[in-house]
């Protein structure tokens, strides 16, 4: 049996310039020049990622809002047209089926972008749950190409090829715009902890990828003066980890609730009813047994998923994501630990193969940019000039 691996519109570009891996059934670049270089390009300038492998659905109809408020945990009635929110869908037990960004295009039209690894599962779930609503759920993944343009120079880069004034598009806002002459859509969202946009080239079927390639190359050209780099999944993962963002399958799954993952801001208990509400309310009242925390390694060593976390010789949890941080130049991780040990500043150890390596629980995010003048380091806000003395790799 030979099933062909899925490809995005930019497969030929990736094959020519990148090191390919199989991810969620797609042949995708893990890096082009190298994870570290690509990571730093995004932190200090701009990078572009092909994320066309992600799932995209359009939800239209008279009851679109009510349907989404039932199936997701956040409140879409807070969204005015052309704005977006981070959210989750849960099962009846409150376990996360997926996390995603949902945008409101019109009063009765929404657009959802979710993880590639959950495409089939999510679409089936949305279809099932939509039966009692006057709503249409369409998978438009294969008709739209999607890129993330991220970094402090993202707006300046994208502006050069965009027909709309992007400075007027605030965080978690969106706009219809031409991108390199092609019909498109841009939202000020991302998965890197930097300012930036996710851009969508509309009406671009996989069978006819030219428009996507044209837009991709126009953005690369526009970003040249800021030393733009095409970035692969490797840098995408290290950037989101530094930014303290969850990766589905690692840090969250159907056995984890948004409360344990400490993304409770996406759970709106004031809503009349939503899938998982009862279970989450109960967990909220009873208190959490475990919580997601950030860890920095205090000695030599790089934490990796599934390694155990100890406190005074007692096992208190497990690492769910871990890497060498290209920006902070040390081992960082996310872990779930029992709530009584989740306090910031707690000294723990991570069992890395046969050694116990000292680590400390820190406030998330490890690093994120906040506007044009501030950054957050270990959960604390600094002026950029101040932060430069703490992070030698921070240049812009």
């Amino acid at each position: 049996m030979s099933l062909r691996d899925n490809r995005t519109h930019l497969y030929d570009f990736h094959l020519k310039h990148g090191k390919l891996v199989l991810f969620a059934g797609f042949k995708m670049p893990v890096w082009y020049k190298g994870i570290i270089q690509e990571h730093l390009a995004v932190r200090n300038g701009v990078g572009i990622f092909d994320v066309s492998h992600m799932g995209r659905v359009q939800i239209t109809g008279r009851e679109a809002k009510d349907f989404l408020n039932y199936v997701t945990t956040n409140d879409v009635s807070e969204l005015t047209p052309m704005s977006a929110q981070y959210s989750t869908m849960c099962n009846e037990q409150g376990g996360i089926k997926d996390d995603f960004v949902v945008s409101r295009l019109e009063e009765e039209k929404f657009f959802m972008v979710y993880n590639a690894s959950n495409r089939a599962k999510n679409f089936k779930w949305l279809k099932e749950q939509s039966k009692n609503f006057d709503v249409k759920v369409e998978d438009v993944s294969d008709e739209i190409a999607m890129f993330a343009v991220q970094g402090p120079k993202a707006e300046q880069t994208l502006q050069k090829v965009s027909s709309e004034d992007l400075s007027k598009v605030g965080r978690f806002k969106c706009t219809w715009t031409k991108i390199a002459g092609e019909e498109g859509f841009a939202s000020r969202t991302g998965y890197t902890g930097e300012d930036g946009f996710e851009v969508f080239i509309w009406n671009t079927p996989l069978s006819n990828p030219e428009k996507a390639l044209k837009a991709w190359e126009a953005i690369l050209e526009a970003g040249k003066e800021f030393a733009i780099e095409p970035c692969g999944l490797g840098a995408r993962d290290t950037l989101r980890l530094e930014a303290g963002m969850c990766l589905y399958g690692n840090d969250i799954d159907e056995q984890t609730t948004p409360l344990e993952a400490r993304i409770s801001f996406v759970v709106k208990f004031h809503k009349k009813d939503f899938i998982g509400k009862e279970a989450l309310l109960k967990q909220n009242e009873q208190g959490l047994k475990r919580k997601r925390v950030g860890l920095t390694v205090l000695e030599r060593g790089i934490p990796r998923p599934r390694q155990e976390v100890f406190k005074n010789g007692q096992r208190i949890g497990e690492v769910t994501s871990g890497t060498f941080s290209p920006f902070l130049k040390k081992g960082i991780a996310m872990a779930y630990v029992s709530s009584e040990h989740a306090q910031e500043g707690t000294q723990v150890s991570i069992k890395i193969r046969d050694k116990h390596v000292k680590a400390e629980i820190v406030k998330l995010p490890f690093y994120q940019r906040r506007g044009s003048e501030k950054v957050i380091l270990y959960g604390k806000e600094y002026k950029i000039e101040e932060a430069k003395s703490l992070i030698p790799e921070l240049k812009v």
Binding site: V30, G234, R300, G301, I302, R304, T323, F324
Partner: protein, 136 residues
């Protein structure tokens, strides 16, 4: 991407992509050009302790890139007599020069004649790499 790798003539090679060089009464070991290029951007090397007695193909440390962890298997049995301390601060040396500056450890071999029988010559290793490449 190019798939030709540097394989010096005077070394012995393991299937796990370590090399061994005989230098008088001791041997030097490291990882091959293929290994360092597969890992890409090495950011961490965990070295064995000097004095440790090891058996051929036992794990003696790890080489890590941002994303991947790769174990180092010793191509020879014996006692570790020196480690490349420079790699603690500058692991990227293994990428730049895997066969010289980027050596991992020196061993006083215990059973070299027998161990060498289980290793490949440069010619055999090149054939082996070709076979792996075709399997992809």
């Amino acid at each position: 991407m190019s798939t030709s790798y540097i394989v010096p003539n005077d070394l012995y090679y393991s299937k796990e992509h370590e090399w061994l060089r005989i230098e008088g009464d001791h041997v030097v070991i490291g990882i091959t050009d293929y290994a360092q290029r597969s890992l890409h951007e090495i950011v961490f090397v965990e070295l064995p302790n000097v004095g440790k007695k090891v058996r051929q193909m036992e794990t003696i440390g790890t080489v890590e890139s941002v994303k991947a962890v790769s174990e180092i298997y010793t191509p020879a049995s014996g006692e570790i007599i020196e480690i490349n301390e420079k790699l603690a601060k500058s692991p990227e040396i293994v990428n730049k020069d895997p066969y010289c500056e980027g050596w991992i450890a020196k061993l006083r071999p215990a059973n070299l004649k027998e161990d060498l029988k289980k290793l490949m010559t440069a010619e055999e290793y090149e054939k082996y790499l070709k076979k792996i490449g075709e399997g992809k």
